[in-house]
């Protein structure tokens, strides 16, 4: 015999009551575990992704949207900025580094990012196979993209217009020249190419006469599905159309690839400064002149040369230019503040469950002590001291607590694991169940406290059992 077996024998006597208390405690703990795992990993992931990016400069709009679209590749861009304007920013003395990004197309839900080699360098991305993109229409693919779509060097991919899958640029396939190793960052789910490729994929429509292909049809969708037209923010008319927007027919658009001669990439080439049609020519009554998608960036990722820049640079951009500067650190902190409310509500729910379980265990033990007074007295006659009985009752409370804790942790990690494999967004942030959030350690303490607190009064009762009175009572 020992105290644990003795205690278990009493627990076995009321299995349903015990199960109820354990499950309630476990659910409370599981809720908090999921929240802790999710929020800590989300925060780590967001911070790691924004590491070294002091500011993002893009078209005016929501700063949070700019950060989400350009740093995390989750939202649609706010619009585009012209290369000339971008140069002005890049030349600014407070800017130590700047990485241009041109967005707008996607491959089966994964984004094509037109950028420079600085971008993969920033995330320490290495090649698993092949090479970095060099010529136009070459693309180097992130680890997850390659894995999910079974891509390898030499394959060609047909990109879709827009970020959520618009019509396909079937006549402009990109050829995969390299696959990156897994980095655990946002790069894993991107296809990287040159800015010129992004321009060329769009620019070529002008020459093929397909420029009007979808803007009339999709014009009314733009409000709902802005992702399709990141580079046509300023107006309905698409930049491609500036010289013949008036001629926009309805019909041809739907199947652009069918008739379009697949001009070899080399010929189409990287648009040199003078190679492309310039936006200068005032085109058919469309909006502003700066509609040249072929000479536009979506955003610049900025690294400051001096800490002072944090105070002055965004002000400069916001006041002196038509662009906007946003700080990833500030915006993600703001986002967590917003998310925080939801987290707190869920967390409160978890704590209420734990509180209810504490009360349940307390009531179970309290009633048990009434039933067991004579048993306790008999144990005393067999030589048990008051402190042994106290330990017996505390042990029972702790037994519930430990069972609830173990089950709760298991459930919490299991739920996180399920979330990680079933929810796309959870995959985007590399959510994993095989992690231990620092604050989870507190849960261990909390659960043990639940056991101790709920058993405290019953234990005192056991300690105070009046031996002679109890024995004489019957």
């Amino acid at each position: 015999m020992n105290l644990i077996r003795l205690t278990l024998s009493y627990v076995r006597q009321r299995p349903l009551q015990a199960a109820l208390n354990v499950v309630m405690l476990a659910l409370g703990i599981a809720t908090i575990v999921v929240l802790l795992l999710f929020s800590s990993q989300a925060r780590d992931n967001l911070e790691a992704t924004a590491q070294g990016i002091d500011a993002v400069v893009g078209a005016k709009g929501s700063p949070l949207q700019l950060i989400l679209s350009s740093v995390y590749h989750m939202d649609v861009p706010t619009g585009n900025i012209s290369v000339q304007e971008a140069r002005q920013i890049q030349a600014h003395p407070l800017v130590a580094s700047s990485i241009p990004l041109a967005l707008g197309d996607s491959y089966r839900g994964f984004r094509i990012v037109g950028t420079t080699s600085q971008y993969p360098q920033h995330y320490d991305a290495a090649l698993a196979a092949g090479a970095w993109w060099d010529a136009t229409y070459e693309v180097t693919v992130g680890h997850r993209v390659a894995r999910e779509h079974n891509l390898s060097v030499g394959d060609s991919v047909i990109t879709a217009h827009g970020l959520t899958g618009g019509h396909l640029h079937e006549d402009r396939p990109l050829s995969v020249v390299g696959i990156m190793e897994e980095t655990g960052t946002v790069v894993d789910r991107l296809l990287l190419t040159s800015v010129e490729t992004v321009w060329a994929v769009h620019g070529q429509y002008e020459e093929d006469g397909h420029e009007d292909h979808d803007h009339e049809d999709h014009g009314d969708e733009e409000g709902n599905d802005e992702g399709e037209h990141a580079h046509s923010e300023q107006g309905d008319a698409h930049a491609h159309d500036d010289d013949d927007a008036a001629a926009s027919g309805e019909a041809g658009g739907r199947a652009p690839a069918s008739g379009g001669p697949a001009t070899p990439p080399g010929q189409q080439g990287a648009p040199g400064p003078g190679g492309m049609r310039l936006p200068g020519s005032p085109g058919g009554g469309t909006a502003v002149g700066a509609l040249a998608t072929d000479r536009e960036y979506t955003a610049l990722l900025i690294g400051y040369s001096s800490p002072i820049a944090a105070a002055t640079f965004p002000r400069f951009v916001n006041r002196e230019t038509d662009m906007m500067a946003a700080s990833p650190a500030f915006e993600t902190a703001r986002m967590f503040e917003l998310l925080g409310v939801g987290f707190e509500v869920l967390q409160a729910f978890g704590f209420i469950l734990i509180l209810a379980a504490t009360l349940g265990i307390f009531i179970a033990l309290y009633n048990a002590m009434q039933d067991r007074q004579y048993d306790l007295a008999v144990m005393r006659t067999l030589g048990a001291s008051r402190s042994t009985l106290t330990r017996h009752v505390l042990l029972e409370g702790l037994l519930f607590a430990v069972a609830g804790l173990v089950l709760g942790l298991a459930l919490g990690h299991l739920a996180t694991g399920l979330l990680a494999v079933t929810v796309d967004q959870a995959q985007d942030m590399n959510l994993t169940a095989w992690a231990w959030a620092p604050r989870q350690t507190w849960l261990v303490g909390l659960a043990l406290a639940v056991g101790a607190v709920s058993a405290l009064l019953p234990a005192v009762q056991a300690y105070r059992t009046d031996l002679a009175f109890t024995l004489a009572r019957e």
Binding site: D375, G383, L467
Partner: protein
């Protein structure tokens, strides 16, 4: 060996027990007789260290119980005193063997399964070793209670009204078993009872109903 000297016990200023001197020799057997309310149970509780007397000294197996602190007294009780209750209270969540093993465990003695088996066999309970108390008859439960009381080979075996709820035949059987088990451990046996049927079976009697118990010195 039991010695009481100058024992007075009061409940709320009412003297319920007044024994100037009493001695029971090691290995002797005897009865404590008296109506209910005569102080039999109180006397047993004083001897078991469950109660401390208002005044006087209780010595059991050479130990002055008044000199022992709470935990030491509990331990001493567990190791040297066996108690059998009228209600033969067993722990119903434990099997017969586990009930028996509670005695050495709670007293801090080695976990002696052999002893448990031997005691059960001597009480004709070997086949009930793994049964739960609820599956036993009253007589069997009484025997398990006796078995548990003698598990640690006590020097003093105290039984409180062990026969009150039994018929004549059973009463005799239980008294025989108690005597037998006490002899096996060479324990001093004291049976508190109001059951006059059993009176003649024991020559040694402390009768709390008789006035002389309060004044005379007594020993056996």
């Amino acid at each position: 060996m039991i010695t009481l000297s100058n024992i007075v016990h009061r409940y709320d200023d009412e003297v319920v027990l007044d024994i100037p001197a009493f001695t029971a020799a090691p290995g002797s057997h005897g009865l404590v007789l008296g109506r209910s309310g005569s102080g039999k149970t109180t006397l047993l509780h004083l001897l078991a260290g469950v109660l401390r007397p208002t005044r006087g000294q209780v010595t059991v197996a050479g130990e002055d119980l008044g000199a022992l602190s709470g935990d030491a007294l509990d331990r001493f009780r567990g190791r040297h005193i066996g108690l059998v209750f009228q209600q033969m209270h067993l722990l119903k969540t434990l099997t017969v063997t586990q009930n028996l093993l509670m005695a050495p465990y709670m007293a801090g003695l080695p976990h002696d399964r052999e002893r448990a088996r031997a005691v059960l066999t001597s009480l004709d309970l070997a086949d009930k070793a793994d049964a739960y108390p609820a599956a036993l008859s009253t007589g069997q439960r009484q025997r398990v209670a006796i078995a548990r009381a003698v598990m640690n080979r006590p020097e003093v075996l105290l039984a409180d009204e062990p026969t009150s709820s039994l018929d004549d035949v059973r009463s005799v059987q239980v008294l025989d078993l108690l005597t037998e088990q006490a002899n096996a451990c060479e324990a001093t046996l004291l049976i508190a009872t109001h059951d006059r049927r059993v009176k003649d079976r024991f020559p040694n009697r402390l009768d709390l109903d008789e006035a002389d118990a309060r004044v005379a010195e007594m020993s056996w």
